[in-house]
């Protein structure tokens, strides 16, 4: 598969529990942050994004938190479901529309 050779951090949760996926970003000048979900054999799928003038944004079952002081981004998934099993990538950009700089990804495994 695509993850061969790439040792991803993994997170294993029980179905129905909440998941928290963390990401440290590199550039303090980044203004835009985004989370993508990638299932095996597919491309990254947009989940949620946030600008640097915000510290929290909520979507359906997902929340993104941004801590600019420590350059940390997190994705919270409420009531995790088996369909949430995937690799999750955070990405940053100096501005929305600019090139994205991706993190290494975290593999989420949901146990039924």
């Amino acid at each position: 598969g695509e993850s061969v050779g790439l040792h991803l951090p993994t997170l294993s949760v029980q179905e129905g529990d909440n998941s928290i996926i963390n990401c440290a970003y590199s550039n303090s000048a980044s203004d835009y942050f985004i989370w993508y979900k990638q299932e095996s054999g597919k491309g990254p799928q947009f989940i949620i994004d946030i600008r640097s003038n915000m510290d929290k944004r909520q979507g359906q079952r997902v929340t993104v938190l941004l801590n600019k002081t420590v350059k940390h981004l997190s994705l919270q998934i409420a009531a995790t479901q088996p369909g949430d099993s995937a690799v999750y990538f955070c990405a940053e950009s100096k501005y929305q529309g600019g090139k994205l700089i991706f993190g290494q990804g975290t593999e989420l495994s949901v146990k039924p």
Partner: protein, 113 residues
């Protein structure tokens, strides 16, 4: 509405051969991006088109890679000659206007033997 499509889905070629990857963005999207993930590495930016113009090509690794977007619709990425280290997954993304979310295609999985 159809998403970003890429062709082929898989390609296996020998070192020294040429391969051309194609990306069809979402209809009406002026911005088109190429990214790739080689084995063991993160997804990395290659270049960005706005319509037919190259806005940012800072991620192109070397002159063996040539990207075009004639007419501002679909784009091609040619690798000539391919090397072993070019193996990986090549993704295309598009956005309607500058500053909007980038939507990714399924990728082309390239294996150079």
């Amino acid at each position: 509405e159809a998403g970003v499509t890429q062709f082929p889905s898989h390609s296996v070629i020998e070192k020294g051969q040429t391969v051309t990857l194609r990306c069809d963005p979402i209809s009406g999207h002026d911005n088109l991006y190429w990214y790739r993930r080689v084995m063991g590495k993160e997804i990395k930016f290659l270049l960005h088109f706005v319509k037919e113009s190259k806005q940012d090509e800072s991620g192109m690794p070397n002159n063996r890679f040539l990207a075009e977007r004639t007419g501002g619709t679909y784009s091609t990425l040619k690798v000539q000659p391919a090397e072993l280290e070019d193996s990986g997954v090549y993704f295309c993304a598009s956005s309607q206007d500058y500053g909007e979310t980038q939507y990714f295609g399924p990728g082309t999985r390239l294996l150079v033997l």
